[in-house]
């Protein structure tokens, strides 16, 4: 262990634990997933950074959105994201989740992912190099240190708006709300 980080470990052991055990959920969207096999295997060995892929969203706390998100995939992404235990972090990978990228006028691709789920960081580029994932991971470490990677808290707080956006896209959703939705704005007549 790095001796310089001993103070940090003693001060905030949970934060350090979150930092060095980023478990990525196995979820592939779009073309960015082609960058993930070299990242997790011996060439760029992501386990040096504590990043390993895990089988189910119940064990994961990092969600890499690796490419364009179609309307149908977004449903699966929301379900997966809601199943992950807190704290959970989301990183959008490539330019398509940011603003649509080359699918900016497509009829079936989501343009802004952060309208539907909170995203802690973005990796720009089409495609980003595998090294960019490690830059993002180290950047995420500093965000966790400063307590700025709070997408999951935002999802809890503003769940009403996220759910409204999701319902605006899909109509009626197939599953009940994750958090209770209270309408504070409208006074109850009874």
């Amino acid at each position: 262990m790095d001796r310089n980080k001993l103070v940090k470990w003693l001060k905030a052991p949970t934060k350090m634990g979150h930092k060095y055990s980023l478990h990525v959920v196995y979820f592939c969207t779009g073309c960015g997933i082609i960058e993930i096999p070299p990242v997790i295997t011996s060439r760029w060995d992501a386990e040096r950074f504590g990043v390993i892929p895990v089988a189910t969203p119940r064990q994961a706390n990092l969600f890499l959105i690796t490419g364009y998100v179609s309307v149908k995939t977004l449903k699966a992404i929301i379900r997966t994201y809601e199943q992950m235990p807190e704290p959970k972090f989301t990183v959008g990978f490539g330019s398509c989740p940011i603003n649509g990228g080359m699918y900016w006028d497509s009829y079936n691709t989501i343009k802004h992912l952060d309208k539907y789920i909170p995203v802690d960081g973005w990796i720009a580029g089409c495609m980003p190099r595998p090294e960019a994932i490690f830059v993002a991971v180290t950047h995420l470490w500093t965000l966790i240190d400063k307590g700025m990677a709070d997408g999951y808290k935002k999802y809890r707080e503003k769940y009403k708006y996220y759910r409204a956006n999701q319902e605006q896209l899909y109509g009626k959703m197939d599953w009940p709300p994750l958090f209770p939705i209270e309408d504070k704005d409208e006074p109850n007549p009874s």
Partner: protein, 172 residues
């Protein structure tokens, strides 16, 4: 290849057969003889329907259905005999009344292709057992692969109208 061409032209009078290159045969046919051409080709060895596709000719107000057929290899000499031919069968149907007969009775694997074409182009295949949605999650006013489907306006109407969550509550 040339034998097949002559045979086709002798049986079906109204079709045009052309050889694009060495192993590519293109048949343009009227829509009323398509089913009989397909069953003839299936009985003469071209038993694999590789693809059913569709092209939207907006200026001519027509849809073009494309059936791609090929032969299975059974013995080496048989394969040489058929010269590895891929057969492309094209037919045109009107755009105002997009209806056609299903080919499931001849090729069973045409079912998902026809469902897909029904979903993306809105062509009604008579006699198809289930023309239910296959890929699309939302409902569209017009089938989205038609040339006059305005994707930019659709994006403006649907995706751009969904607000950013950060701008709610007036704080970032």
């Amino acid at each position: 290849m040339k034998l097949l061409k002559e045979k086709l032209e002798s049986i079906f009078s109204s079709i045009q057969v052309s050889i694009l290159k060495q192993d590519r045969l293109i048949i343009s046919a009227q829509k009323d003889v398509v089913l009989s051409i397909l069953s003839f080709l299936k009985s003469s060895g071209y038993a694999h329907l590789a693809l059913v596709s569709c092209v939207d000719w907006l200026d001519e107000r027509e849809f073009e259905l494309v059936y791609v057929l090929s032969a299975y290899m059974q013995k080496d000499d048989e394969y040489i005999d058929k010269e590895k031919a891929n057969i492309i069968l094209k037919t045109r149907i009107s755009r105002e009344n997009p209806e056609f007969l299903t080919v499931i009775s001849i090729f069973k694997n045409a079912e998902p292709y026809e469902r897909e074409i029904h979903e993306f182009y809105g062509i009604d295949f008579k006699g198809h057992p289930r023309l239910t949605p296959l890929f699309l999650e939302r409902e569209y006013k017009m089938p989205p692969f038609r040339k006059d489907f305005d994707t930019r306006e659709y994006v403006k109407e649907v995706f751009d109208k969904i607000p950013f969550v950060d701008n709610k509550d007036g704080k970032k």
